[in-house]
């Protein structure tokens, strides 16, 4: 019996020793051996790493059908299920993982900011530490190429397009009224505080079929998914006060930011060129609620309220007592979005937004009341068939209900408005032929109820990676947008305005530096024309306008090569002409300056605990019409120059003192000229320069964060 037991033990030992050898060689698709790949039988301890020749060999006591797994960073994992006996002298080629970080990126036309972006041109902190931006997202984006400096307006003018040609989206959902209202020659700002957002994608053309109703440009802002800590922020500024708070509980979080701005004390200390009957005051509140479900799906609800009022008299050559403009605006915006992954690599994104914008405007003695209600619904599905092939498709519906009441000084009343409802669907596919070659093809269909028009916009882009650091991209697309509210309120018999974009891009990136150059051609068709000095109720409108814009943009950014210094340079060359509005002939519009240059630099001074920065903006002269000479838009202003400085001092971990000054050199910039309607007796028209309301602007703020761990500060808010 003992012998039997002994024998049994031996056999059982032996069976453990009776092993199979698994061996083979791992290479990439070009037969280069891969060193250090992890080779193992799934669910067992048996495995090894490949050697310098890419070879591996290990023994296993496993029997029958097993799964061999070979994995290595930036390659697709290889899986083979077979009988262990057959797993010998294998020749395995690993395929490049097209999702890996060094793969090609389809990026013609797009700048991305944020941690997730493969190539970042702007960091989240840049928005708040760029001297000329004054904490405004739009201000920071104006230091990127493709934008024109239109300092008296403040909105984004991209590649020879008007400001309305740029659409703004929060979490994929449209924002209908993104800018705060302001009077003539006073720049408006974005309504949104930059620190609720974690990522920004700014596209200056050639964007995806997912987005429509934008002729020139697209700005996508993504709110933070999960705030990291509970805290209270207090801000004391020369312009007003701010309070913010974040709460986190279970899978929920809630952030609120409010601010009250009143320019009265500032204007008392530094009077500008305008006479304020009521200085600008505004009250803003924003809140975000986020809930993460058990299945990792995410619900975000964003709400913003703002109220602005002012009453100002501005000098005007045509009005002896000045031009009076008063405004009361309230704006409510609500946006909710939901993201979920389900089934076999499906992804669902859906959302809804609602805007109510109400303005009471006083223009000299006339009174205008505007009321706009807009909504956007969107559903998008994305299916990933493999790493090489993905499809996304979806539908959306835009509703805009705009009404205007106009009461003249003689008490005549006019009421008009429109319902602009648009249904759109899109489908798009991403194909990666290899890690170096990718294509995106999409098409978008839109149906406008108001214009009774159906449009189809094909979009496509291709990117090819030449080597580790460099790649080329090309993009082409058709873009349609309904005429702006200013025209739709008077006339509905329109077609959608149209452009096509053709873009070629070269990008070279290295650690800490990026260089890109992009050339483009835009062809505009069906632009709105009218016959009066201004578009009015009685104007005759048509769609016969056209134009083009062509040029190139250059961007260079380097970080750390000069110690503690980060800088970027943007240059844009723009050649744009249009025949639209009431233009008698083809001409370069007033907002399109030929050369735009921005230089932004930031330097951290360790000993002073300070970040010191400057930004310099240059724009060549802008066109204006001089009625004393023959022609239309026949003259150019002098060049625009502005140097801004900023200084952030960290008093301690929770207190920051911030100082900034714009146009420190006090350059007298001129945006254009306003000519008198009637000529003098000698036949000459007198003129008045359109200039900023103040040459310089100063800002001082103290920011204090109160949180449990006493380590965070609002440097990210500045």
């Amino acid at each position: 019996m003992k012998q039997l037991l002994y024998l049994l033990c031996i056999i059982s030992q032996f069976s453990l020793i009776a092993q199979n050898t698994i061996s083979g060689k791992v290479t990439d698709t070009k037969n280069n051996p891969i060193l250090g790949a992890n080779v193992y039988l799934d669910g067992t301890y048996d495995g090894t790493s490949t050697n310098e020749k890419g070879e591996f060999s290990f023994t296993t006591s496993e029997k029958g059908t097993q799964t061999l797994v070979i994995s290595f960073v930036s390659f697709e994992t290889f899986i083979k299920t077979a009988n262990v006996i057959s797993l010998k002298n294998l020749k395995i080629k690993l395929r490049d993982d097209v999702n890996s970080l060094d793969a090609v990126v389809i990026n013609a036309g797009t700048f991305e900011a944020g941690e997730k972006a493969k190539v970042t041109v702007l960091k989240p902190l840049d928005i708040v530490t760029t001297a000329s931006a004054l904490g405004d997202v739009m201000g920071a984006l104006q230091t990127l190429p493709g934008t024109s400096t239109v300092d008296e307006d403040g909105r984004l003018f991209v590649r020879g397009g008007e400001a309305e040609e740029t659409q703004i989206f929060i979490d994929g959902i449209r924002v209908f009224t993104p800018y705060t209202p302001s009077s003539n020659n006073i720049p408006s700002r974005g309504r949104f505080s930059p620190f609720l957002f974690k990522g920004i994608a700014f596209s200056t053309g050639g964007y995806s079929a997912e987005y429509g109703q934008a002729l020139s440009s697209l700005l996508q802002l993504n709110t933070i998914d999960e705030p990291v800590e509970e805290k209270t922020d207090l801000s004391f500024m020369t312009l007003g006060l701010g309070v913010g708070n974040t709460q986190i509980w279970d899978n929920n979080s809630f952030s609120i930011n409010t601010s009250y701005i009143n320019l009265a004390p500032y204007q008392e200390a530094f009077p500008d060129r305008n006479t304020y009957k009521k200085p600008v005051q505004s009250l803003n509140g924003e809140m975000v609620f986020r809930h993460k479900f058990k299945n990792q799906s995410l619900l975000k609800m964003y709400g913003a309220f703002s109220y602005t009022d002012f009453d100002v008299i501005q000098d005007d050559i045509n009005y002896e007592d000045g031009f009076r403009f008063g405004l009361k605006n309230r704006n409510l915006y609500f946006n909710t979005s939901y993201k979920n992954k389900f089934g076999n690599n499906w992804r669902l994104e859906t959302g809804f937004s609602f805007t109510n914008d109400h303005s009471n405007i006083k223009i000299i003695e006339d009174v205008v009341t505007d009321n706009e209600n807009s909504m956007h619904f969107k559903v998008k599905l994305k299916k990933s068939f493999s790493n090489q092939f993905k499809i996304s498709f979806g539908s959306e519906y835009f509703l805009t209900d705009f009404d205007e009441d106009y009461t003249t000084d003689t008490n005549q009343q006019y009421t008009y408005g429109f319902n602009n409802n648009i249904f759109a669907s899109f489908v798009e596919t991403d194909i990666f032929f290899s890690k170096n070659l990718a294509v995106k093809i999409g098409i978008r269909a839109e149906n406008s109820e108001l214009l009774n028009e159906f449009t189809l916009s094909p979009r496509t882009s291709i990117a090819y990676k030449v080597n580790k650091n460099a790649q080329f991209s090309l993009a082409y697309g058709q873009f349609y947008q309904n005429p702006k509210n200013e025209y739709l309120k008077f006339n509905h018999n329109f077609k959608a305005e149209n452009t096509s974009h053709l873009i070629a891009n070269y990008q070279h990136t290295k650690q800490g530096q990026i260089f890109r150059i992009e050339a483009y051609f835009k062809d505009y068709k069906n632009l709105v024309k009218y016959n009066d000095n201004y578009a009015v109720y009685t104007s005759n409108f048509n769609n016969n306008g056209e134009g083009y814009a062509k040029g190139f943009d250059v961007f260079w950014r380097q970080n750390g090569k000069i110690k503690n210094t980060d800088y970027w340079v943007s240059y844009s060359y723009l050649d744009a002409e249009r025949e639209y509005k009431n233009y008698p002939t083809t001409a370069t519009p007033n907002f399109a300056s030929k050369h735009n240059l921005s230089v932004v630099a930031k330097h951290w001074v360790e000993n002073w605990k300070s970040q010191i920065g400057f930004s310099y903006n240059f724009a060549s002269g802008r066109t204006y019409t001089n009625p004393n000479e023959i022609g239309f838009l026949n003259n150019k202003t002098k060049n625009y120059k502005s140097l801004s400085l900023n200084w952030a001092y960290l008093i301690d971990q929770q207190k920051i003192l911030y100082f900034s000054a714009s146009n420190v050199l006090g350059t007298q910039n001129v945006f254009g000229y306003n000519y008198k309607n009637t000529a003098e007796s000698n036949g000459n028209f007198n003129r008045q320069a359109i200039i900023p309301s103040a040459d310089r602007f100063f800002f001082v703020g103290f920011f204090w964060t109160i949180s449990d761990n006493k380590k965070t500060n609002q440097l990210d808010n500045l």
Binding site: Y45, V73, L101, E115, V228, N709, T712
Partner: protein, 207 residues
């Protein structure tokens, strides 16, 4: 009787071999680690984690090794792919052991690797997260010498940056060393307190 002995022997053999498989595997991985074969150690932990999908420690160690070896890297692509891998394994560990202070500290360590690489880009969002992670770990296990040491190191870094005294944290390190001597770890292969490192940091702190 004889049959039952046989049965017991057989059963015992099976049991032992099942247990030792994990033990020998883990031990071998630690040996590789000690010899400096980081890649192989990490890959062995990776295999163990795939074979033992309910255990948190193998994936915890994969994440830890990938994080350690990413410090000092110059190429962002390599750094990101290593840390993405570390994050995947840390997420597996989190599912297998919820609210584990060791994993919370490992997450803070992973974040630190990003911050150390590019403070401007990652510091703003991740440093707040780290404060929160240490606070949470300490709440769960207020006497853990590893958590106390990690938090003290993090705070010393911040204080140095702001030119503040690091003195309050020196005593924390001393306390961590004391606690580590009293601590009894009963779970095999549980993360150990790194006394040498603690002593080195303490020495630096007092300077």
């Amino acid at each position: 009787m004889k049959k039952s002995i046989l049965l017991i022997v057989l059963l015992f053999t099976v049991l032992i071999s099942a247990q030792t498989k994990y033990q020998t595997g883990m031990q071998k991985a630690f040996d590789l680690w000690e010899q400096g074969n980081m890649t192989e150690a990490s890959q062995l932990f990776e295999r163990i984690s795939k074979a033992e999908p309910t255990k948190w420690m193998p994936s915890y160690y994969v994440a830890t090794i990938e994080t350690i070896t990413s410090f000092g890297l110059k190429d962002e692509t390599v750094l990101k792919s290593k840390l993405t891998k570390a994050q995947e394994f840390l997420d597996v560990a989190k599912i297998n052991s919820e609210n584990n202070p060791e994993i919370l500290v490992a997450q803070a360590f992973l974040n630190l690797a990003y911050i150390a690489f590019d403070g401007q880009k990652y510091g703003m969002t991740l440093s707040g997260q780290n404060n929160q992670l240490y606070a949470k770990a300490l709440q769960i296990e207020p006497e853990s010498p590893r958590v106390i040491l990690a938090q003290a190191e993090w705070n010393i870094g911040a204080s140095k940056f702001f030119g503040k005294s690091t003195a309050p944290y020196c005593s924390e390190i001393e306390r961590a060393i004391e606690l580590s001597k009293k601590e009894k770890i009963e779970i095999e292969f549980y993360p150990k307190f790194m006394l040498k490192r603690a002593e080195a940091v303490l020495k630096q702190c007092k300077e």
